[in-house]
Subunit: 441 residues, 2 copies
Amino acid sequence: MTDYRTLRVALLGAGAVGSQVAGLLLRHGDELADRAGARLELAGIAVRDVDAPRDVDLPRELFTTDAESLIVGSDIVIELMGGLEPARTSILHALSSGADVVTANKALLATHGAEIYDAADQVGASVYYEAAAAGAIPIIRPLRDSLAGDRVRRIMGIVNGTTNYILDRMDTEGADFAEVLADAQRLGYAEADPTADVEGYDAAQKAAILASLAFHTSVPLDTVHREGITSVDAALIESARHAGYVVKLLAVCERIEDASGAGPAEAISVRVYPALVPRTHPLASVHGANNAVFVEAEAAGSLMFYGAGAGGVQTASAVLGDVVSAARHHIAGGVGVGESTRANLPILPIGRVTTRYQITLEVSDETGVLATVAGILSEGRVSIATVEQTVVADPDGGPGIARIVIGTHKALEQDLSDTVARLAASGVVERVVSVLRVEGD
Amino acid sequence: MTDYRTLRVALLGAGAVGSQVAGLLLRHGDELADRAGARLELAGIAVRDVDAPRDVDLPRELFTTDAESLIVGSDIVIELMGGLEPARTSILHALSSGADVVTANKALLATHGAEIYDAADQVGASVYYEAAAAGAIPIIRPLRDSLAGDRVRRIMGIVNGTTNYILDRMDTEGADFAEVLADAQRLGYAEADPTADVEGYDAAQKAAILASLAFHTSVPLDTVHREGITSVDAALIESARHAGYVVKLLAVCERIEDASGAGPAEAISVRVYPALVPRTHPLASVHGANNAVFVEAEAAGSLMFYGAGAGGVQTASAVLGDVVSAARHHIAGGVGVGESTRANLPILPIGRVTTRYQITLEVSDETGVLATVAGILSEGRVSIATVEQTVVADPDGGPGIARIVIGTHKALEQDLSDTVARLAASGVVERVVSVLRVEGD
């Protein structure tokens, strides 16, 4: 075996991902050394409880509760504790000690990314985070490096496996949200407290990270518009299917050019919401807990990256790829290349975004109602592309209810929401059943 | 505008890709400088004929026929001349002059890659070639970096747009090869001399590059088994469809583990041929001239990378990404990280590969023929999974001809080809219609 220089690797956290990372580091040590050009010595694993059960059988003597001592003297620090603290403090400590950092902590990067990248720049260190955006799918390097000479126009990502699993089963089985969620929890696809997934918080963190990279702009988490999938029901999915769509929770990162002079010439929008995707779109065939990121760039055209978005061993693959990169960089020398946020584009609020919409209304089945509805839309600058009206059977034999499904042309979100409010208050609309954006057509 | 250091960029070649690269470098200069942290000055464009027409309007004073003078003093040399010489000499000159090199030249890398990577290692320079394997699809960095901590088991790539366009149209329209090829030539999807594409030479070069990266092993081009698509006809495509398959020209790069002790414990196989792919496989829905690379890795699971495989401006995107990477590396300092070929796995000849097969035979419609055929297969260690026999109508009213389609279990290629030879010589087989490998199920 070649006589390589040894690099000290400190691992913080031994949960589902961390224990797999440790196991692979120990098992494939020689192979990784050949690839990195350096022997990767797992110096220790910092955990809260040394005796907690682990997914992988690991030597007991590696464990410590003293993360800070472990960090000192390490060349590479892998942070897999999750959460904001003490992860943030440990990463800043690692960088100031001269280590390169590998992390999968999307919450931390979406919240304190700028501080961490700055700290790395100060000392010429690097922060690697391939595992933070779409699990095992390589998307960070493609955006950061491969597309660095191009202009990304738009990203549409299915970046949360739990919600895709739920929506896919609802679509396939016609089941309702609560029912599938309970099943997903039982099978381990959803957590006991599913809020982070089903309310879109996890997807919003990933959207912030992807948009920062794609648009070379610092994207604070609170500028990401976020809606979850808890209001998606079986009827909505069925109605989407009828219109040729599937419902997906999308992270949309968009470059918006405005030649009108009314707003900035160039800006971005970052948003997460359940959207209607045409069944012919590549994203429509992303099933189960899989993730996919669809990228439209000016020169490269349409690209798609597909794979497992989560899972301990899958995510460990992305973490170890970063560890090898960090090791190569250590051996090669030179300072780290920081994140470029020099484009610094303005971030538009959701009201300033234009998309197409599908509006579903229940109205009283009377003469003139459609004309009234169409009038309100027209006054609100929302142009109708398609209309379908059906009469809903009334079991009580009362006055009939009709359902109107309206597909709009591109409209401004602010105009659309004002118009929907006017429809709701108009007297002819019994119920606004749903308002969904249409993406990808 | 920030006061960046200026890097001299020399461009060799101004064809479909080169002219787009020059245009984008000039048009997006400020943006690229912000991303690279350096001003990229296009110092000149070396071409054979200064007055030849170009796809993009470029300042005449940039052109020169003296590539070697242009190279001297350049920080980054972009080689887009194609072909083996003078590309090889120019790249070696650039590296020895201290420049980093960006190239899209798959023929050169597949043929002289080892020499070029060695020359780069000698001087601590880097060679970037994202555009050489699948056009605009970022696949080099994912394999080289993101999956560096994982073990790639298998790559199945649709890496040639021309043949995918032809096979896709044959599949969609039921048309025959010659007819679609002529149309593809008229539309610019295929060259006047289509040999490099339809005989699989282009795909074989890309397969060698992908396999080298995935398996950390130097893969000489002549170890890549290669078959083209010229014998694929409408009947074969129809019969594939009937069995639930689509025909795709695949580049297959496979890690083969053999615990039997009969061969090396671990080896690889790299091969290009038309194969049957189940219609439910993600590769089956790659249409038109698009490319996709499907990767199976031990930890990461299944990943797919999809996009445009060719085209001037699309490929220019990948080239410019490499230029920005090279510039960042120049600014950051440190030596280049060479290609790791330290695994150095043995490469198996095609005869030692096992796959599943579909064999289509025409036999005389007589008692006992199927038994004879089954006996020959069994003697040849080829195990039958499925059989379908149909009687082919004979317009002349002669003795009937039956068609037998046999799906095999996994068999050794050498056993299979010996068995097919015996079938052909058996007297009961009128014609071996086709023998195709089945991949992806």
